[in-house]
């Protein structure tokens, strides 16, 4: 099958590659660009670990082809804040101990940033409903919700 040429921006940097049509966006980010902060867990679009932002909106990158991202502006966890600094959502996760094993965290943070863009003053219900696409198998939801509310407060 013929490769597809894609040109896209990831964390502010332009990239152009010829990719197999069946290459998933998450594999493009991890295997070709080496951005392994984005995780693959369930690989069935259930868990949200692979959440990145496409044009500022949260998307499960295991359920999108790299070819579909041609021309898009993508942000991964690596692009959220300058090296050595935290995005306010990352700072709130740190402050409120909103992670245990940490495997879901990158996807969780990317989903939260997108959620707060759309709804800067969420209720606890809004946060829980807004994050239903992200699973934490340590079941550390309580502190995650606390962190999101604190991050919203601090904005």
């Amino acid at each position: 099958m013929e490769d597809v040429r894609i040109s896209l921006t990831v964390n502010g940097h332009p990239h152009t590659h010829d990719v197999e049509p069946r290459l998933l966006l998450v594999e493009y980010l991890r295997e070709i660009l080496g951005l392994t902060g984005t995780k693959v867990a369930c690989d069935t679009s259930s868990c949200g670990s692979c959440t990145v932002q496409v044009e500022g909106e949260s998307v499960k990158s295991c359920t999108m082809l790299a070819a579909q991202a041609d021309g898009a502006d993508i942000t991964t966890i690596e692009g959220l804040a300058a090296a050595g600094t935290y995005h306010p959502v990352q700072a709130a996760f740190h402050e409120h101990h909103a992670l245990q094993c940490g495997f879901c965290t990158a996807g969780m943070v990317m989903a939260v940033v997108s959620l707060l863009e759309a709804n800067p003053n969420p209720s606890e219900h809004d946060v829980r409903h807004g994050l239903e696409g992200n699973l934490c198998r340590c079941t550390g939801y309580h502190n995650i919700v606390e962190a999101v509310l604190a991050a919203a407060e601090s904005r």
Partner: protein, 273 residues
């Protein structure tokens, strides 16, 4: 998990999409938001030879006032429907059901036309358009035709669409502030419904009821509707919710449990409507 190899064709107009479908015939599958199709392809339950990506047809992403109905372009994303003011005021049941589809990330990519054309009886929106008596505009090499929602779903993941046709618009009758209730039972917040029920009044006040995952297609609960029309109480009418259905049995629920859920969920949906 990686899909089987396929050829990728991106089109930038409805005409180009139809040309590609004619060219590739049965080997081709349309890709809209991909939130149902890509998971199936990753599991190799779907192995199309050619994927025709219609995801960028901006001309099919719109919500317009059609007089007695709201006309929705097939490639309008769930998220855009959730936020649309015309849908909120004229088709509030559709807005509410759309907000229950999958999760936020899925709603950022998934489209109404994609969900409807996929024809999954366990999915929210096919049942919603059946309950709301929507009309579906289908374009193809033989011209345009309009199919009523009740005739659109032919079987499990099977619709009235021919391989060379494209669903372009969904026309949802306006209901204004008429009452509705959507009750969805699922194991986890983002899951498909084990069973769900939508009860929605039309602009004249008559109630229609549709069931999710109670058979091979989204179905109307005709026995419930008939009982209500004959003056039965909501409670008595809801007791008929599983009549004439053929619910599947799987790891999540037996057919008997699904029938029980249908009766309970229909009663709650009727109470809300």
């Amino acid at each position: 998990m990686i899909p089987a190899p396929f050829e990728y064709v991106r089109v930038d107009s409805v005409d180009a999409a139809l040309t590609a479908l004619v060219e590739h015939g049965d080997d081709a599958k349309l890709l809209a938001g991909g939130q149902s199709l890509l998971p199936l392809m990753k599991l190799r339950l779907a192995t199309p030879e050619v994927l025709v990506d219609v995801g960028r047809l901006r001309e099919l992403s719109y919500v317009r006032d059609g007089g007695n109905h709201v006309a929705i372009g097939a490639l309008t994303r769930h998220r855009d429907l959730e936020l649309d003011e015309l849908v909120a005021s004229e088709c509030p049941a559709l807005a509410a059901v759309t907000a229950e589809v999958g999760d936020r990330q899925v709603r950022h990519r998934g489209t109404l036309g994609g969900a409807v054309a996929h024809g999954d009886p366990a999915s929210d929106l096919p049942a919603a358009i059946v309950a709301l008596d929507a009309e579906l505009v289908v374009d193809g090499p033989r011209g345009r035709r309009v199919v009523v929602a009740a005739d659109f779903f032919a079987g499990f993941l099977e619709t009235a669409l021919e391989p060379d046709e494209l669903l372009t618009e969904i026309r949802v009758p306006k209901t204004g502030r008429a009452g509705f209730g959507y009750e969805k039972f699922h194991r986890r917040a983002q899951d498909w419904a084990v069973v769900a029920a939508l009860a929605a009044r039309d602009a004249g006040g008559a109630i229609r009821v549709a069931l999710v995952n109670m058979g091979g297609t989204p179905i109307r609960a005709h026995a419930v509707e008939a009982a209500l029309a004959d003056g039965a109480s909501l409670h008595d009418a809801a007791a008929l919710a599983a009549d004439g259905t053929d619910p599947p049995g799987d790891l999540e629920a037996s057919p008997d449990f699904r029938a029980h859920l249908a009766r309970v969920l229909v009663r709650r949906a009727l109470e809300a409507a």
